[in-house]
């Protein structure tokens, strides 16, 4: 069946494929092409004209790295804008400013002077068992109290325990430095993780107590510079170092304090 249909198609009249065989068709085609070109030209001109008449919409560009200023919100209904003169009979009272509580001062050391008792004038009498026990207790109490020494040990435990035998000799210098620098130190205490705020600085001092060169961040704090809280804490500590200089320290012991490592640790202030 398919064979019979194929020859039938071949037998049909040849289709006109070019204008050469039909001059009238060529003229119509030429006319239509010219019409198309004219219409395109006309439309193009109109588009250019209309673009000049359109309203330019101003766009607010913000170049600053952190800014995000938008176009203004539509103006509010004038009836809805609060006019203070309409809604209040008397001017609002000024805000009450509450003074900040001063930071607690470090405890003043209380030195207890013990005068040894001499029993030389009294005749020797044999001690009772109770007296012996009491005396032994008293001696033990005194030894234990001295060992703990919480009131007099104003220097931090790190000074006493951490830095070896030099600390005992220089504990008074550490105390002197701390008492001078604490009033200049205003740490940012808002960090969620207080450990981010502990920073160490190595500082070179001149013999007149002024700061020599730049204080250098050291220890872990130097690694945490990408953390904005640590950076803020480091800058607060740096300001304190500069602001409280020159430091009043004994010049004859300059070799002990020509270089200091300051650890700024606000965790106690934050109660954590």
């Amino acid at each position: 069946m398919s064979k019979s249909q194929t020859p039938a198609k071949r037998k049909g009249p040849p289709r006109p494929t070019t204008a050469r065989s039909n001059p009238a068709g060529f003229a119509i085609s030429l006319f239509l092409h010219l019409g198309l070109v004219a219409a395109t030209w006309f439309t193009w001109n109109r588009m250019l004209d209309s673009s000049q008449e359109s309203h330019a919409v101003p766009v607010e560009l913000v170049v600053a790295e952190q800014t995000n200023v938008q176009a203004e919100a539509p103006p509010p209904d004038p009836d809805l804008v609060i006019k203070p003169s309409q809604s209040i009979d008397e001017p609002p009272p000024l805000p009450q400013f509450v003074d900040l509580e001063p930071a607690p001062l470090p405890p003043i050391p209380q030195f207890k002077i013990v005068t040894p008792k001499t029993d030389l004038d009294q005749p020797d009498r044999p001690k009772t068992k109770k007296q012996i026990v009491q005396e032994a207790d008293a001696v033990l109490n005194k030894i234990l109290a001295q060992a703990a020494a919480p009131k007099n040990a104003k220097a931090g435990p790190r000074v006493i325990q951490g830095a070896g035998n030099q600390s005992l000799a220089t504990a008074d210098l550490a105390d002197a430095l701390k008492s001078q620098i604490y009033r200049c130190w205003n740490p940012p205490v808002g960090a969620p993780n207080p450990n981010d705020l502990v920073v160490d600085y190595t500082v070179q001092l001149r013999v007149d107590g002024t700061v020599m060169g730049q204080p250098q961040l050291s220890g872990n704090s130097a690694l945490g510079q990408g953390n904005p809280y640590t950076r803020a804490a480091a800058e607060a500590a740096s300001r304190a170092i500069y602001q409280c200089a020159p430091y009043n320290l004994p010049a004859r012991r300059y070799s002990d304090w020509h270089e200091i490592i300051l650890r700024f640790d606000p965790r106690e202030m934050m109660g954590r």
Binding site: E60, V62, V63, A64, Q66, T67, N68, V69, Q70, A71, E72, A73, P76, L80, V81, I82, K83, S87, I88, P92, P93, P95, Q96, F97, V98, L100, P104, G156, R158, V159, A163, G164, S167, L173, A174, K178, I181, Y182, C184, N186, P187, P188, G190, P228, Y229, A233, E235, S238, Q243, W257, E259, I260, L262, R263, F264, D265, P266, R267, E268, M269
Partner: protein, 430 residues
Amino acid sequence: MRKFLLPLVALAALFATPALAALQVDVTQGNAQPLPIAIPDFVTTDPVGANIASVVRADLERSGLFKPVDPRAFVDKVTNINVVPNFANWRVISAQGLVTGDVVQQPDGRLRVDFRLWDVYGESQMLGQQFFTQPANWRRIAHLVSDAIYERITGEKGYFDTRIVFISETGPATRRVKRLAVMDEDGANPIFLTRGDYMVLTPRFNPTAQMIAYMSYIGAKPRVYLFDLETGKQEVLGNFPNMTFSPRFSPDGNKLALSLENNGNSDIFVMDLRSRQVTRLTSDPAIDTAPSFSPDGRQITFESDRGGSQQIYIMNVDGSNQRRVSFGSGRNGTPVWSPRGDLIAFTKQDGGRFDIGVMRVDGSGERLISSGWEDEGPTWAPNGRVLMFTRSIQGGRGAQIWSVDVTGRNERRVMTPGDASDPAWSPLIQ
């Protein structure tokens, strides 16, 4: 001989002082005072230069963390912000920070605002930024400058370029007119959003600060509505048979938690704002209300009296694992999760007083941070550092909005035209 030498060497080692070792000092106490900072008027021929500096000074002072130096004390005048200042002149007035800025009118009518933040003691620039804006936007530019300075010096995000939605209250106590209103964080630009012919309560911002959910008594039927700040359009949220109240958006803005009342009992539901599908989260016969999402959107804190008195609970966002977290004295309600995630603020009723408190999310470390007679309804600044709340004046003499630092310091009134209550802090404006 060696017999003598060994102990001698040991003794010498024991007493040898490392002469070159650095002295180590632990500084654990500081002086928590506001940071003195000098902010001269921005250099320009236009009054806007003085206006911007004035708003920046007010913003930073209000935070309680800065103390702008009185410009009358300045001994130096900034005429060009592109030269390094003479720091000694700013140290003599005890300024630790210095902000210099200028405002330049652009040919297209816009303003270019530049500013630099200097470390006076370190003698270095800490920050420099430039903004372009229409002149009418100068207040927002000032707030953006304040935010940048605050963030650079404290390490925390600022909160000055934000808005507050609140309830404006006028009229006598018997016929109180309550209207929805918004204002800038510093109290500027207060605008009414509703006309006051129906009561409105508990407005809350969505995370883009363009949408407000609130409860209204339109048609004497209390229901939760949405208000679009861009278009001014309002719509009732969902076709609930009974009263809906206490709405709060999820951190991604796609969901809204709310309470639905039914025969005297209320439970917490969450609605997907895109599909409007509603899911029940609690089904306790007690009153469950005041839901607030955690910043990661995984948990919800709410108040419930299922244990006999009003207390604070936490559950997963699907309603599972409901557990009580407040065990302090009195009744505790209106919990709001800090945007930082570390704390929950709440209202404590105890001994006839209402106080604002904060606690860790496990209920530990409870602290009261306000000092009024009736303080309630806390809302967090987007940085989780400051709170606002409603303070009722004793004797029914009106309501005010107050703010306080999360440490309990720097409590001060937020100035509003007339009485105001129920504040909700927006996120940073995008």
